[in-house]
């Protein structure tokens, strides 16, 4: 296998070249692109405030229940906390989006509908939905509520996005992390729906909403429980100086002494195929679009989203601060990625490394 370092080096060279080319193109002054929104995650009120204070244009949050895809213990908002968060954001001219992006389970659909009703009543600036039945409900019941098609809705092409627009009047779609830049541009050119893409954070290697690896191993998936490789199933098992990382008993990886042990997310473990042990699906790594920000701006991406509602306020504050500076800088012709930005972000990344993921064709 090509080493990660090699891949990263090649990737970085490409990144630099691309950034320079774009800067040159834009200095020729063809058009004045709009500054995309910076959308930040918040797992609690403290993180929400830190995000706003560090320059987020909008923050996305979830209720303390299985209606959102980060249904982790100790995370998320009570109704009162969301209300307080909305006041904090809106009084400063910023927005709050509420993720209700798991799939309503039969017999309990009222829990999801109640969350939508609550979001509308509280004055949320938008709700993120994935379930077609819920989109239909929200469009009919709350015509003034802005609907965003969640990444969990798996809309990877303009036909799907335009259909959700025709049916439910969605204002925005969040693209799964599977498209190249050229494919994103094609989507934007073929739809009037605003496009939101991921800019930084943990990388889903699978099409969001089309992955049930987690329930295959544990019985709980993002679609049904709002979780992936849930912590309750993780077991760290020391064995002869080595650390085994298990998910519901299944060995996801093992680490030798001195080796950095990562959380056993199912798709980021080392497995064996035809006698070779390697990261068969993906390395532990984070997505980082700093190098291609001008390109995303030029294409008309409306919102850059940071992943990580499960992260603490310190993380959210730091990442928000850097992305704020980077997006503002990307509006100017002389944009370059400041080494300090990358240094700080890499330290906060999974496996201390980053990738352009599917935005860069060779990753595929």
């Amino acid at each position: 296998m090509e080493t990660t370092a090699q891949v990263m080096k090649a990737g970085n060279e490409q990144e630099t070249e691309r950034a320079q080319r774009l800067a040159a193109m834009r200095s020729s002054g063809k058009e004045a692109p709009q500054r995309p929104e910076l959308l930040c995650p918040a797992g609690n009120l403290a993180a929400l405030k830190v995000a706003i204070d560090n320059g987020a244009d909008a923050v996305y949050v979830g209720f303390k229940n299985p209606t959102n895809a980060r249904n982790f213990a100790g995370l998320n908002f009570t109704n009162e906390q969301i209300s307080a968060g909305i006041r904090y954001a809106q009084s400063r001219g910023r927005q709050v989006h509420i993720a209700i992006n798991t799939f309503a389970q039969a017999g309990r659909v009222s829990e999801w509908r109640a969350s939508i009703d609550k979001a509308a009543e509280m004055g949320a600036d938008a709700v993120l939905l994935a379930d077609m039945g819920l989109l239909s409900y929200a469009a009919a019941r709350h015509p003034a509520l802005k609907l965003h098609l969640s990444v969990q809705g798996s809309a990877t092409n303009f036909e799907a996005i335009n259909f959700a627009y025709e049916m439910f009047g969605i204002k925005r779609a969040v693209l799964p992390r599977v498209l190249t830049l050229a494919q994103i541009e094609q989507v934007i050119q073929n739809t009037s729906v605003e496009i939101e893409t991921f800019g930084f954070g943990s990388l889903c290697v699978m099409v969001e909403g089309r992955c049930i690896l987690s329930s295959y191993a544990t019985g709980q998936s993002p679609n049904t429980h709002g979780v992936c490789s849930p912590a309750a199933f993780v077991r760290w098992e020391p064995q002869n100086g080595r650390m085994n990382a298990r998910l519901n008993g299944i060995m996801i990886d093992h680490f030798e002494e001195g080796e950095r042990a990562g959380y056993p997310t199912l798709c980021k473990g080392r497995f064996n195929a035809q006698g070779e042990d390697y990261y068969a699906l993906e390395e532990p790594t984070s997505l980082n679009v700093l190098a291609i920000l001008p390109e995303l701006v030029r294409m008309g991406v409306r919102s850059i989203k940071i992943e990580g509602r499960q992260r603490g306020p310190a993380y959210v504050g730091e990442v928000t601060r850097i992305l704020r500076a980077a997006i503002d800088a990307a509006m100017k012709a002389d944009y370059t990625v400041k080494p300090m930005w990358s240094e700080v972000l890499d330290k906060m990344s999974e496996g201390q490394q980053h990738t352009l993921g599917a935005y860069s064709r060779p990753w595929k």
Partner: protein, 295 residues
């Protein structure tokens, strides 16, 4: 209860594919799903080949359905879908874009297992768009399915993924190409070499997953055979093609539907093992019946 032969998820050489379908002309299945649903780069059979097969199956008395790709990302993927939608054959929609195209052409369609229908309201919405049959999400349990059917108000048929390796995930990345240190764009079509995908084991040797191009499957075979007495909840049972023994599996299911005592030997047909935890609302990798003969 009727049998359906699911779409071929693997990439086989042209002759093996044609031989497989020539044999399937005589199988006791009511419905055959054709077309490439995993990767737009696969082309051992061209669209015209698939359409010819569709004619032949139809002449042999089978109902033909074309499966859409689950991941539609390139302009080519969409163009291919529109071409299929322009024919007389119904579509299995595995993506919202496919639902749109079917609906625009007023084409009845089958809502595939990757559309994420977990409740009655969503199923009703799909039926309003023209869905006449649906395949529940692969992770759905028997009780979950019963709850959806209880909740729905419209008429729609149900088809269960009854036997086969579970298509658990789709990615933009090709894991087979990655395994061979190739990129997807220059993959050399290495997935042709493994008629049942590549088994991925844990570092302590437990069979776990199966990589099949951009798709990740279960290493084991999911089978609802042990729960036969509960399968009347559906109108169709889907058998997913595998490299060998598909004919014998189809016959065993058909015999059982017909009330004959089937000559089954799943231990040899699926030596990778049988799982069915999902049906019991457990992890999909679990086998809730100790042996296929137990119930």
């Amino acid at each position: 209860m009727k049998l359906a032969l699911g779409p071929l998820l693997y990439y086989w050489p042209r002759q093996k594919t044609l031989d497989f379908y020539a044999e399937a002309m005589n199988w006791p299945v009511d419905c055959v799903y054709l077309g490439e649903m995993v990767c737009g780069r696969r082309h051992e059979l061209r669209t015209d080949d698939w359409l010819r097969l569709a004619q032949e199956f139809s002449a042999a008395g089978k109902n033909v359905v074309f499966s859409s790709q689950a991941l539609l990302e390139s302009a080519g993927d969409l163009a291919n879908l529109r071409k299929l939608a322009g024919t007389d054959w119904p579509l299995e929609a595995n993506d919202l874009g496919a639902v749109k195209i079917a609906r625009e052409r007023k084409k009845p369609f089958i809502a595939g297992p990757h559309l994420n229908v977990y409740n009655g309201a969503t199923l009703d919405w799909l039926a309003e768009q023209g869905a006449v049959r649906w395949i529940p999400p692969l992770e759905m349990s028997r009780s979950g399915l019963a709850a959806v059917l209880e909740e729905k108000t419209g008429a729609i048929e149900t088809e269960l993924f009854a036997h086969g390796r579970l298509p658990l995930a789709f990615s933009a990345r090709c894991f087979t190409a990655r395994h061979y240190n190739l990129t997807k764009d220059s993959c050399e079509f290495r997935c042709l070499a493994d008629s049942d995908g590549l088994v991925v084991r844990t570092r302590e040797g437990q069979d776990f997953l199966r990589i099949n191009g951009i798709q990740t499957q279960s290493a084991a075979c999911h089978s609802l055979w042990p729960y036969w007495h509960e399968l009347g909840i559906a109108q169709y049972l889907r058998i997913s093609p595998q490299g060998e023994h598909t004919a014998k599996i189809v016959r065993a299911f058909a015999d059982r539907i017909a009330g004959r005592s089937p000559q089954e030997d799943f231990a040899s047909w699926n030596p990778e093992g049988i799982v069915n935890g999902y049906w019991q609302a457990k992890p999909g990798i679990e086998s809730t019946a100790l042996s296929v003969n137990e119930i």
